[in-house]
Subunit: 206 residues, 2 copies
DNA sequence: GTCTATAGCGGGATAGAC
DNA sequence: GTCTATCCCGCTATAGAC
């Protein structure tokens, strides 16, 4: 029993250090030496528990992908009134990525560099299941005449674009604009509110 | 004279091969051996003309950054009526990246991995110069009562989000959705039109 | 399970012949 | 200017002692 806890603890230390490094520096620029140092372990331990660096990476990627998808689609099935749902959807996403803003770029970039290999590591949600409820609700609002008629998939892609892209830019904007992190966080906070209004105005029927 | 042409030709072959590889595989995963093979030259030639792989990369990055910025802000100073300007702005961007859709992700990712080094390689446009004319035009339309009052920087960031992010996703969507490239291009073409209407509806005053 | 030492490969860069 | 051969480093992975 004590042994099991010990093992889990070592694995967890390695995973935590690896995740931080992979997300910050990417697969190729993170070495097992880096991970060994950061986790207080050594190279042999990493290979003992995870067989190879690539295998450890796949474990990290899988978890990161799940985390991102969960955040991007949080509250999409909520029963709130549609406009409040949009507010909650966008705001929750913005707020949830204040702590690791590099997650989306990491997931997209690494996936794009190795799609065939990584596609097998992730469980894709059924889009009908994920978007189905929102689609029905949008159609109802269209019938009621409160919003314009819009293709649901284009709408979802647009909400995601307006949410994810500013977060991605937040990892480069401070350097580009010469801002400190706190200043950009304030900007993002204002932008979050702007985006919610922007989306609602775009679909609302006067 | 003939010598000059010869030199330029070799350099150009190396640059072309390097750009394609760097954009597709990234800095770290592209080797000078790859570049040598793809350009029909050899490693020694690359170091002879460009001193080092890193130096060659910086040259490529600089050009790619310029190209992206030019495309993202093409027509932003146009004299077209505002709604037509938005249409032209968005559509031109979508159309211009059909040929190298990996450019935005490449620029953002590599910059984010090495901001301090790469910031020195790029000329940043003066935002007042770039956005100033658009800002004035937007304010005029607000006064005329044709559009809502909106902060210009948030608006620009939103237009860019709606333009760039779908292109970034286009490099992973085919694998994720099981589509062939042509199918996704059709989807993007439809999305382009959706986005233009979306933006105009978002700011228009009824 | 943990560590040290090292095998073995692939990388960037360059010396030196032509 | 161009090429071949090679240096030397840093990487992943593992053998083997404890």
């Amino acid at each position: 029993m004590i042994k099991d806890i010990e093992i889990t603890d070592v694995q967890q230390k390695i995973i935590d250090a690896a995740r931080e490094l992979f997300i910050r520096k990417g697969l190729k620029e993170t070495t097992v030496r880096d991970i060994a140092n950061a986790s207080g372990k050594n190279i042999a331990m990493i290979n003992y528990y995870f067989r190879s660096k690539d295998n450890l990476f796949e474990t990290i990627f899988e978890g990161s992908f799940e985390k991102l998808i969960t955040r991007v689609f949080a509250h999409i099935d909520s029963d709130l009134p549609l406009f409040e749902l949009i507010d909650k959807w966008v705001c929750t996403y913005y707020d949830s990525l204040h702590d690791d803003p590099k997650l989306p770029l990491f997931v997209i970039y690494e996936f794009q560099k190795n799609p065939e290999r990584l596609i097998r590591k992730i469980r894709l949600k059924n889009p009908y299941q994920t978007f189905g409820k929102l689609a029905i609700r949008i159609n109802k609002e269209v019938e009621k005449g409160t919003i314009k008629e819009i293709p649901v998939s284009n709408f979802i892609l647009s909400v995601i674009s307006l949410s994810v892209f500013p977060i991605i830019l937040s990892t480069v904007a401070p350097t580009l604009l010469g801002l400190i992190d706190d200043q950009y966080k304030e900007l993002l906070d204002g932008h979050k509110k702007f985006v919610v209004d922007f989306i609602i105005n775009a679909i609302k029927k006067e």
